[in-house]
Amino acid sequence: MQETNLDQPKAANIWPLIGNFLVKWGTYLTIVVLVIFFTIMTYDKSFDMYPFIKTSNVIQILRSISIVTVIAIGITISLTINGLDLSVGSVASLADSLIISAFVWYEFGLLPAIVFALFGAVLVGLANAFLIVKLRIPDLLATLSMLFIIEGVAMTYTGGGSISEGMPNLDGTQTVGRLVPVFKELGLAPWIIIIMLVVVLVAHIFLNYTKHGRYLYVVGGNIEAARLSGIPVDKYRTLAYILAAFMSGLGGIMLAAKVGSSQINAGAGYLMPAVAAAYIGFSVGGSGKPNAIGTLTGAILMGVLDNGLVMMSVPYYSINIFKGAVLAIALATTYFKKK
């Protein structure tokens, strides 16, 4: 009798701790569990190896998530000010078309082409900021409109088709422009992975260690208090949307480098995975806020899932079932406590 009496309060004390631990590190735990699971499930008896954790496969996973991650960082920055930029996928498509056209149609060099594409992306960011900050359209609706507008702009610009080396111009004349070889390099490992890591690192430092990052969070946390603290609120909201568009543009450029041509609406598919990665990232390390490292973790989680399921020969049309389920579980660990 005495023993049970002693045990009960102990048990009661341990559960919140475990819950807390799960909320903080649940995402990492999920990744670890998944990696172990996939490693075992894909064990190859005939060669006695674990193809899932081979270096080449790890690099493959990182390469596959690099574009999503960079775009998700854009979303993360828009989330810091309590906005959500839905136009990121379209902006990536636009930058993708712009940079390939710069090479193929206008025979630009590497740097001018990149500047050209990023400039286009930043213009969209400014337009977003104008709609949201000046015209006061709610962020979701404004960027949703922008999603359609920019999708249309990108397709109109390319004449409704894809652009690739050696294809004729819209008016039928032959193009002579080629992609710069260095540019194609950027789409391969290790460069594409390095770009991703640098973006995450820079975003992390910017958000956590500079005045501007702090202000972004303050504006997102309580816009009225921020305003009455003398923070130029509109300036920082504008900055956030410009940075979000810039990151999406960068993602589009990486996509162009990886594929080597510009396909119609190529960036659209990155919107939802990027949103998911950014939201999963909220809970990582218990920060409770949008943050760069968390976003990377979220993207890794989804990359591991994608890769593992393919290796287990789950049919491509069923993969999303598992992806969605794991996403729900990961988010449950974040929100379960907040009742």
């Binding site: 005045k211 702090r214 946390g221 309580n222 208090a225 009455l228």
Partner: protein, 496 residues
């Protein structure tokens, strides 16, 4: 209502109130802040279920434990915050008929729109108001919203209608319209109207009987033609519990800040003239809704100006937004602490540096983490903020400590002019004292202080000079040493 008593944790809000209203009259209920007017009316409306005492209607004892019971007995209350009672994206007709739509539908599953609109129109016509019943509630003016609520009250048979400070947000013509409606209800429809107001002239204009509450007790009941404004003010004040104020003697210097003929774009305040000298604590007194908060926000650039100039050290300055105000050396501790003053989701140290982050950044705008935290630790100590560490989320601090954080964030910004808007709201006595001391120290350091409060003892306790606001204007300037509560309250209530 006889022998009504009610307690809340820590306070006995009502201590045996006897209150009687006849149908067909307009009855005023008046008292200083915290006297218990609203509490008494909420009991009548069935908001609280733990009151003691008896409520009788037509001589029969009734229970008023839920809003539903109150409604059943024909009592309706129109609260001050009209927006909480309206559904903004429903039409006027639906808002008027809401009680019936909710309670009297019976087994019917479908709404008969023609019927609803016809009924709503009939009610509006009965009280002589022209509002399109198809209009959405969110597009109405404040006065119209109030009319809609009154119309809702009349959608069912009502014996008593309580109006809790209905005139505060209304313009003169709108107030006249409301009064006409009140008279119509009382004299033509035999409704007992209970009218809560801070404004003395209104009471003399429209009411027949006035009941005066003080500290949870009825101190007097008179016919309005047997009493005058001065007597009412004296009865409202009575003798009060005296607090001590740590007012230090400070030499007052040159003029620091001046406001000339300031009017805001939305006419939140009109024609404001003010002077603040170095080392001076200038009070802004006035009742709730007089425009005090609006004035402090207008000075801080948070409400756009229509005309008028601000002068700092004799030079005209532009203050178009709070960001500019901070650059000029202004600091505002706003009234709505949790909504506007502190970042509740952020730790204490981020809050303490939010208004002066430049001090803690290097040339590349990187934050010097150690410096920031050390500063936070010093602030926590010097303001004696009770928190386990500088990493604690502000949400977990008590009201008084949150307020200290809200004040503390300005202390490093080196501001010259500090505006405090109701800084002691929801703050315990000990912390109050510390906040007063802090304000005294700022004055001693030669800063200019604008102290906005509806607590008259505080105004008298710590200010050097006081402006009294009534109906969006400054109506009187008083030397604190030569005035008293009665005089301030007299001008606050629109007395002339």
């Amino acid at each position: 209502m006889t022998g009504i008593e009610i307690s809340f944790p820590g306070v006995r809000a009502l201590k045996g109130v006897d209150f009687e209203v006849k149908t067909g009259t307009i009855h005023a209920l008046i008292g200083a802040n915290g006297a218990g007017k609203s509490t008494l009316m909420k009991i009548l409306a069935g908001v609280y279920d733990h009151y003691l005492g008896e409520i009788r209607i037509d001589g029969e004892v009734v229970e008023m434990r839920t809003p539903r019971e109150a409604k059943k007995h024909g009592i309706e209350i129109v609260y001050q915050e009209v927006d909480t009672a309206l559904v903004p994206y429903l039409s006027v007709a639906e808002n008027i008929m809401l009680n019936i739509l909710v309670n009297a539908m019976g087994g019917r599953q479908f709404v008969n729109w023609n019927e609803i609109h016809a009924a709503a129109k009939a009610i509006l016509k009965r009280i002589g108001i022209k509002i399109d019943t198809h209009e959405l509630a969110q597009n109405l003016s404040l006065a119209e919203k109030q009319m809609v609520l009154i119309a809702r009250a009349l959608a069912e048979e009502r014996k008593f209608l309580v109006l809790d400070e209905p005139t505060a947000p209304l313009s003169n013509t709108e107030t006249k319209e409301l009064f006409r409606l009140m008279k119509d209800l009382a004299y033509n429809h035999n409704v007992g109207v209970i009218f809560i107001s801070h404004r003395l002239p209104e009471i003399f204009e429209i009411c027949e009987v006035v009941t005066i509450l003080r500290d949870g007790r009825v101190v007097a009941e008179h016919k309005v033609n047997e009493i005058n404004q001065k007597q009412i003010v004296e009865l409202m004040l009575g003798h009060r519990f005296e607090e001590t104020y740590p007012k230090q003697k400070v030499d007052i210097g040159d003029t620091l800040f001046e406001v000339n003929k300031l009017t805001t774009r939305g006419f939140e305040v009109e024609d404001i003239n003010m002077v603040v000298k170095k080392g001076e604590i200038v009070g802004v007194a006035g009742l709730v809704g007089a425009g005090k908060t609006e004035l402090s926000k207008a000075i801080f650039g948070a409400i756009p100006h229509k005309q008028g100039t601000l002068l700092l050290n004799g030079r005209v300055i532009q203050v178009k937004n709070p960001s500019q105000a901070v650059k000029r050396g202004f600091a505002l501790v706003p009234e709505e602490r949790r909504k506007e003053g502190v970042l509740v989701e952020e730790p204490v140290y981020t809050n303490l540096s939010a208004a002066c982050l430049n001090v803690f950044t290097n040339s590349l705008s990187f934050i010097k983490n150690k410096l920031e935290r050390n500063h936070a630790k010093r602030m926590i100590e010097s303001l004696s903020i009770k928190t386990p560490s500088e990493n604690q989320k502000v949400a977990y601090l008590s009201g008084g400590n949150q307020q200290k954080v809200a004040v503390g964030k300005w202390l490093s910004s080196n501001a010259d002019l500090y505006i405090f808007d109701e800084p002691t709201k929801g703050v315990d006595v000990g912390a109050k004292h510390e906040i007063f001391e802090l304000i005294g120290k700022l004055a001693a350091a030669g800063k200019g202080i604008i102290y906005v409060s509806c607590e008259l003892p505080e105004i008298l306790g710590i200010t050097d000079r006081t402006y009294v606001m009534y109906d969006r204007k400054i109506v009187k300037e008083l030397e604190t040493a030569k005035t008293n509560e009665a005089e301030i309250l007299f001008y606050s209530a629109g007395g002339i």
